[in-house]
């Protein structure tokens, strides 16, 4: 129920002015752990798995890359080795002809050059969910949402009868706008299982935010991802932990789940994608 996140702060904002102030606090340290951040999708592209280490909270530098590791993915029939590209970046790639197949079980295997937090070997397993196709999308301008209005991306697709979890990412002129994980929209199908989505708004483009501004003629692309329940929960938890917290409706902070073994953090995801594109037509009153 995302609506809570919208209503309650709004209510609070109306009554009292909340103020914030940067403060200095001293935090404890802990030993560095392996961080895995990567996904394979049904797209035919070079898929990336990024390896880094955790750091002190106020480290304030890019996360240290974990280089020279042996990274492989097994899909039940064959194993492919990922190559670090560029060398020293901690980013490991498949060939650009690689694509994931729904229903297959993908196993990520990592062997580090040197142990981190006492562990050299890490594994993760994820099953590629099946496709859910987008019929079409529509863009609609809503003047009364946010200060300068918002564009809604409306989705037309059939939700299958079984339990599904979705992620939505938006592209403007082929550039991913929802570029960080906290801006990816996710939903379960609990409240509309088996129904036609009938133009439900899945993305809001806030015209107040300059990176979301849409102009006439722009081509807007929606990526619908069918994701696993575990990955859905991972994204939800991550969004909670990186988002703003307050005593009214935030539970106690807690570690975001992971599917990496042996004390690793992060996630190795697999999801099936479907795309639809539309072009922004001029609106009469804009």
């Amino acid at each position: 129920m995302k609506i809570l996140k919208y209503i309650l702060p709004c209510l609070l904002g109306l009554i009292f002015v909340q103020c914030t102030e940067k403060i200095n606090i001293k935090l404890d340290s802990t030993s560095a752990r392996l961080v895995v951040d990567g996904a394979i999708t049904t797209d035919t592209v070079a898929h990336k798995i990024k390896l880094s280490t955790s750091t002190d909270y106020f480290y304030n530098e890019p996360a240290p890359a974990v280089t020279g590791a042996l990274v492989s993915i097994n899909d039940g029939t064959s194993t492919i080795i990922l190559t670090e590209n560029p060398v020293g970046s901690g980013s490991y790639e498949t060939l650009s002809t690689f694509f994931g197949v729904p229903g297959r079980v993908y196993k990520l295997h990592i062997e580090l050059k040197e142990a981190l937090n006492g562990q050299r070997i890490y594994d993760a397993t994820e099953t590629m969910p099946k496709h859910v196709k987008i019929d079409s999308i529509q863009m609609e301008f809503k003047e009364d949402i946010f200060k300068k209005g918002a564009w809604q991306t409306k989705l037309y697709a059939q939700d299958p009868l079984d339990e599904n979890f979705y992620s939505f990412r938006g592209y403007r002129n082929n550039v991913l706008v929802t570029d960080s994980l906290n801006r990816v929209i996710t939903t379960d199908d609990k409240l509309f299982n088996g129904r036609y989505t009938n133009g439900i708004a899945v993305l809001y483009w806030n015209q107040n935010m300059n990176w979301e501004v849409i102009n006439t003629g722009d081509r807007i692309k929606l990526q619908l991802g069918t994701i696993t329940k575990n990955y859905y929960n991972f994204i939800q938890e991550l969004q909670l932990e990186v988002g703003e917290k307050n005593p009214l409706f935030s539970g106690p902070p807690a570690n975001v789940r992971t599917n990496i073994s042996n004390g690793g953090v992060g996630y190795f995801a697999a999801y099936a994608t479907s795309y639809a594109t539309t072009k922004i037509k001029p609106i009469p009153n804009k």
Binding site: I7, C19, S54, D144, S180, L181
Partner: protein
């Protein structure tokens, strides 16, 4: 436990054998007779709760009950009775008791007396003598004088200034008593449970002070007549209504206005009280510069009403109700929520020594949340809880040394955890229903207050309570990983789980002198209904869930010992109390629990133990130009739950070891007073990161220990100044201006602590505190007529 029970039963037998043998009166044998009656306020006929009746000759006495009734069973003879009540002039009556006699007493408020005349005769040290501890009473006037946020006089905010009580979060109506959770407080208004006592996200409470007569907080040593919550009982009683003359009071503040009218209906036998309050913040919204804000609706209101009728000397009836709601609406969303309570009561005297009260109670809390229709995502979500109770409470005044109370209560709970559905033809949402949950909560109790000697008083009682889950109900079975494996549906009306237990309550008071006592108590309490909430302050989206085949009732054993001493002719009360609480089947929630619209909620629960202990000091001065209190509490409260924090003991969210409060009121002149309160407490425990990971271009915190960090200390000063209009003869109207300043020196107390990724440099992060209020001035005009 078995041993405790055995000792308790032995004790009961022992006391029983002494019950009728124990006589404190003159030694002449002969049949006893009874003097009884009701104690009222002379100005308005309001029954006085907890007034003392002291028999000089016997050096003993009794206390009026919640309806102002008292009864004393004495041998015939001549007695001098002293009737006293805080803030009132004591009355002394000499009676020649030959046969059963009714003596109704009306006391005069000290305010009505000429200032020059000060009578201090026979001031009873009731706090010392009463065999009860861990109790704090606040009278309405005291509450009124405490500086309040936005001038909204608030019972719950006043309660939070008492020793052993802390607010769950800045400005919140939630409170923690002796380390208990907010849902372990039973808040009752005229006997009806108020499930959510807050307005506007908790910043204000539902109690309109003008409609209230009496507020008592039991922090421990909970009477056997009450149960169902582990930590405390907050007993709030509404005014009966002025039986003498039509009168009213009200006020206009910056947030709300209120008006209370009361008076007799055809003679003194019937009286009514009606009281309303509404905020008008939304009336200013159209003036807002922001068009988003301009179209909002936002208000809350309260309505209290009561009718009291005296049928005859032996029968009185009361009907009272409360209705309150919060409404919020804008173009995209709407939310409304509120409580409704209704109580019908009948006081009946079976004899002058057997007082009975029968109550029929209904209590409801519900909310609705949704979006306007006409869109694919239009939906509506409702949740409601409704209780119906029947209750019979009896007080048997055997003799001045023994007062037996007994009774039964039966409550039918209907919990509707939530129905969400699409609205309008466009909506894609179907109906999503969390199955209803029905239950019967029953209890019977008996207790006696026995004055063994004039110095030694025992109080002992036993409560037996059960909770029964009734069909139609759906119960999921969970595996060791808390995943639902299957479910069972029980047919309507079928009792599919019964859980319960005995709740012994014991107390002992020893009076060294009339102004010095030691007291000790033990109480066991059971709780069958709890709130699914893992935030500290809580949203209004309350979801109560019951004990069930998967959830055992929570149990609390509390031991307390206290020393009580009155100084300076009882004008100064000093007390120190130590407590230890041991709680079983304590419920917490797993990390990132999904609590709302989750039919498998029980899979999100994690169960363990909790304990808390502390020491409370209180120095209080109730009367005089300078009055108020100073309190200091040291307490610790922690939980051990195997599947949370890796099984390591962690601080409960309300663990604030040091808590220091000064509440001060000084009457500058006959017309004006100055009030201040200052709070200093340890900061709230928080969970902070020890490391970070970069995932999906976001800095993701990694935590080690739950509530391992403590925020900086909290402190705040509030001030208020009040001045009355000049008194004029032949004018009933009297007004008073109140100016208050909340957080007078603008302390930026931590309300929330966030770790934020820098917008400009995504590799950087910093800590940021959110604070709510610096200084908030307000002005209120209060009037009476």
């Amino acid at each position: 436990m078995k041993l405790q029970l055995l000792v308790f039963i032995l004790f009961l037998i022992l006391c029983y054998t002494r019950l009728f043998a124990n006589e404190n009166g003159p030694t002449i044998p002969g049949p006893k007779t009874t003097i009884s009656g009701t104690i009222r306020d002379k100005s308005n006929g309001e029954a006085l709760i907890g007034a003392t009746i002291y028999v000089k000759e016997l050096k003993t006495g009794t206390v009026s009950n919640s309806y102002g009734f008292y009864s004393l069973n004495l041998l015939p003879g001549t007695y001098t009775l002293v009737f006293s009540y805080m803030g009132f002039q004591p009355a002394e009556k000499t009676i020649d008791l030959k046969k059963e006699q009714t003596l109704n007493i009306e006391l005069v408020s000290k305010e009505k007396l000429l200032k020059e005349v000060v009578i201090t005769a026979n001031k009873a040290a009731e706090d010392i003598r009463k065999p009860e501890m861990s109790v704090n009473k606040l009278n309405v006037k005291t509450i009124q004088r405490i500086p309040a946020l936005m001038g909204e006089v608030d019972v719950i905010k006043a309660i939070q200034l008492l020793p052993g009580v802390t607010s769950t979060s800045e400005g919140s109506s939630g409170f923690s008593v002796r380390g208990g959770a907010a849902d372990q407080n039973q808040i009752i208004l005229d006997e009806a449970t108020v499930y959510n006592a807050s307005h506007l996200l908790g910043f204000f409470s539902v109690f309109n002070n003008d409609a209230i007569k009496d507020v008592t907080l039991y922090k421990g040593d909970i009477p056997a007549s009450n149960g169902g919550r582990l930590s405390s009982v907050l007993d709030v009683r509404m005014k009966d209504g002025n039986a003498k003359t039509f009168s009213g009071e009200g006020g206009v503040g910056i947030l709300s206005s209120r008006l209370t009218l009361e008076g007799p209906i055809g003679g003194e036998k019937t009286s009514y009280m009606i009281s309303g309050r509404r905020t008008y913040a939304d009336m200013f919204l159209p003036l807002a510069s922001n068009k988003e804000v301009r179209n909002n609706t936002l208000y809350f209101y309260d309505l209290n009403a009561k009718i009291s009728h005296t049928i005859n000397e032996n029968n009185r009836v009361f009907l009272s109700g409360y209705l309150g709601s919060d409404v919020f609406k804008n173009k995209f969303a709407k939310m409304s929520l509120g409580n409704q309570t209704f109580t019908a009561r009948w006081n009946h005297l079976f004899s002058k020594r057997l007082f009975a009260n029968f109550s029929l109670i209904s209590s409801k809390y519900g909310y609705e949340l949704g979006t306007p229709d006409g869109n694919a995502n239009s939906f509506d979500w409702t949740s409601e809880l409704h209780d119906y109770s029947l209750k019979g409470d009896f007080t048997w005044y055997i003799n001045p040394s023994n007062t037996i109370k007994f009774g039964i209560i039966s409550t039918y709970h209907t919990l509707d955890p939530g129905v969400a559905k699409g609205i309008g033809s466009e909506s894609i949402f179907k109906e999503f229903i969390i199955p209803m949950n029905y239950g019967f909560e029953q209890a019977a109790y008996i207790s006696n207050e026995q004055k063994v000697t004039n110095k030694l008083i025992f109080k002992y009682g036993l409560r037996f309570s059960v909770y029964q889950n009734i069909g139609k109900g759906t119960v999921y079975n969970y595996n060791a990983q808390h995943d639902a494996i299957d479910s069972v549906v029980y047919a309507a009306g079928k009792v599919f789980k019964t859980q319960g237990g005995l709740e012994p309550r014991l107390g002992i008071t020893y009076n060294f002198t009339p102004s010095m006592a030691m007291k000790a108590s033990y109480s066991r309490t059971l709780q069958y209904l709890q709130l699914a909430q893992n935030s500290t302050a809580g949203t209004p989206l309350d979801l109560w869930f019951s004990s069930s085949p998967n959830v055992k009732p929570q149990i609390c054993d509390q031991y307390a010992i206290g020393f009580f001493r009155n100084l300076k002719d009882n004008t100064l009360e000093f007390s120190v109390e130590g407590f230890y609480k041991n709680m079983q089947n304590t419920i917490d929630f797993k990390d990132h629990a999904v609590l709302l619209l989750n039919e498998k909620l029980e899979g999100e629960l994690r169960v363990g133990k909790a304990r808390s202990y502390g020491l409370e000091f209180l120095l209080r001065k109730n009367e005089g130009r300078l009055n108020g209190w100073i309190s200091y509490t040291y307490s610790k409260t922690e939980r051990t739950i195997p599947e949370i924090n890796n099984g390591k003991t962690y601080r409960a969210p309300y663990d604030k070891p040091h808590n220091f409060v000064i509440v001060f009121n000084y009457e500058l002149t006959a017309r004006s007073y100055l009030s201040a309160n200052w709070i200093y407490s340890s900061g709230t425990p928080m969970t902070v990161p020890v490391a970070r990971a970069m995932i999906g271009n976001k800095i993701v915190p990694i935590y080690s220990e739950r509530n391992g960090y403590r925020a900086e200390d909290y402190h705040r000063l509030d001030l208020s100044y009040s001045i009355k209009d000049k008194e004029r003869k032949n004018r009933k109207w009297s007004g008073e201006w109140n100016f208050s300043l909340y957080n007078a020196y603008g302390q930026k107390n931590v309300w929330a602590l966030n770790f934020v990724q820098d917008d400009k440099d995504p590799n950087k992060s910093y800590a940021e505190k959110t604070y709510l209020f610096t200084f908030i001035p307000s002005i209120t005009y209060n009037f009476k007529f």
